[in-house]
Symmetry: C2
Subunit: 354 residues, 2 copies
Amino acid sequence: MDEQRSRGADAAGTGRVRPVTGAVTLKQVAAEAEVSLATASRVLHRSGGREVRGLLAERVHAAAERLGYVSNPHAQALARARSSTVGLIVHDVTDPYFAAIATGAMHAAHAEGVMVMMAATFRDPELEIDYLGRLRAQGARGVLLAGSGSTDPAVSGRLGDAVSAFTREGGRVVAIGARPEAGIDAVVPDNAAGARRARAHLASLGHERIGVISGPETLLTVRQRLQGLADGLRVVGADFTREGGYQAAKKLLAEHPDLTALVALNDLMAAGVLAAAKDSGRRVPEDLSVIGFDDLPFAADLSPALTTVRLPLREMGERAMALLLADPDETSPQTIDVPVELVVRASTARMVQH
Amino acid sequence: MDEQRSRGADAAGTGRVRPVTGAVTLKQVAAEAEVSLATASRVLHRSGGREVRGLLAERVHAAAERLGYVSNPHAQALARARSSTVGLIVHDVTDPYFAAIATGAMHAAHAEGVMVMMAATFRDPELEIDYLGRLRAQGARGVLLAGSGSTDPAVSGRLGDAVSAFTREGGRVVAIGARPEAGIDAVVPDNAAGARRARAHLASLGHERIGVISGPETLLTVRQRLQGLADGLRVVGADFTREGGYQAAKKLLAEHPDLTALVALNDLMAAGVLAAAKDSGRRVPEDLSVIGFDDLPFAADLSPALTTVRLPLREMGERAMALLLADPDETSPQTIDVPVELVVRASTARMVQH
DNA sequence: AGGGATCTGGAAAGCGCTTTCCATCGCGTA
DNA sequence: TACGCGATGGAAAGCGCTTTCCAGATCCCT
């Protein structure tokens, strides 16, 4: 009583002590229900692996209800040495690619009552490692690494260390897209198949001289897509951005005017390619066919509407989060392959014979 | 020593005890530095409002460094009754409008060493209230409400309650865009001025018969923009999405073929408007001028490139987060007005006399 | 030179919850 | 009838950190 006094004030005449701050504690609930703290905890959070029988349990629930009890996640995390938040690390929130993944992930997390701690690395691998450490210190249940990994051995090595430190403590790490680090669960789109399909589509339209606007080859995703495209193409690398696509396309078109089709390794670049084509005086698709990758929301709004390889981004986010939250009993690491499909729109057409 | 043994293993020959789990505690650091727990805490987290002098402080820092200490946020949150995370509640992560804001907010948070808990409401006001409650139970330092408020009194009332509960406990709530609820700090773009500018631009090009594709009028943002546009326009409301814009424009154009310009109340809708214009056989800007609002990244890639009212979204996110993290000493609630500007691109042109 | 005022570092009491023991209790079995 | 066993509720010891007191040391002023 005295002790409670110190945290709260006596509410109007009832003699009941009500905390000013609205922070109802388990202890108060236990007192209200006239059971021990342990029992209250067991009932409300089925903690300690023990069930509590009928009557007592009811009293506790009723008391909790009456008082409007909300458990303090920090206290739980501290006592259990594990919290109920998960981390979601993306390169860039502004990139629609990650936004779509994040949406799916948040949906799945919400369904499980888990809160998402989201961090953006702004493409700095150091930050990715740093966040992983903080999430670990915080006892996060797991971390979702959206965005494919780098093949740079130095970075990859340190990230790998951070990941093992995390998993060793019972956390789970799931990646979207292939990662060179071992022991990471992953949800990976079938990039190679998508690329193969894109190439086949172009071939069926009669295109033979095809250029590829590629991203940084340190990205595993890029490698897989390139691989699926197969040989015999003119490849030029660039930044994985709209601007990168624009510049690279401009250059490629100038150096190889005979190209009849261009495939960009992601839609952002494809947007740049379209702009470059226009600026170079080529009509799409009459003079030049263009294919993108990802099928981001804006792809259909480009002019002409972009033919592209669709990745079920949102679904991938959902599945990755589900995997993260799943019982780790199943043999980890696990890899879920996700099929992709080609969406044909207006940016590709049969080659016109001049 | 004995105690440390129980948590760690002796590393190769050094005689130094190293925890297996990587969870180095403050206690260990204190022991290593041969100071008390209190001192270590004061040095490492300048807690208790006390500084610690030179030598001791150095010893502690050195020890922390050596051991690779990372403080446990949950323990801190529990002891301080306030955590160092902030909440960021958005309607939809996929919407580039929110993505841009989130980017800015995360940047600012990162600079302060604060982690961001991000939640998406999927436009469900109930969820917004729910998240606010959870963030409160968790002792979040503050919450950023991105996305303008609803004027629905029922929703607004309950949200207002949640907000007061939160602020009463010392949390800070900052909104981006005007909110009907009292007592919320806010960063608000000068929507009315932007709208005025858009109208003036159109007027200067000779347009007089102007249509407006509006969003839900319950949104304060929408009201402000409408207000700035002033009277005498044909307004049609729709969903604040691309599809909504498309449908509304289609309809408006059919019913009022004499309109020479359309202003969409956000870029998403403007994208739809452009598509509708094309499908209705109007050339933009020759037959019809179109203006958007927000200047999202894709605006320049639309065809034709969209003339729009630019909101410094990212900067707004940054400022809002800065406000959230600032000393609450300054008289709250506070409102920061943000200027907007008109970006003229290719979707508007002088009216052609037929 | 003496005595308060000031400063420093440490001991210890929590923060709200989980979980390990323990003590009980009821029951089945020999 | 007596004994052992599993089930059940409670007491209490933490989880890792902050912060309030305290006591000892330092300082300055009269």
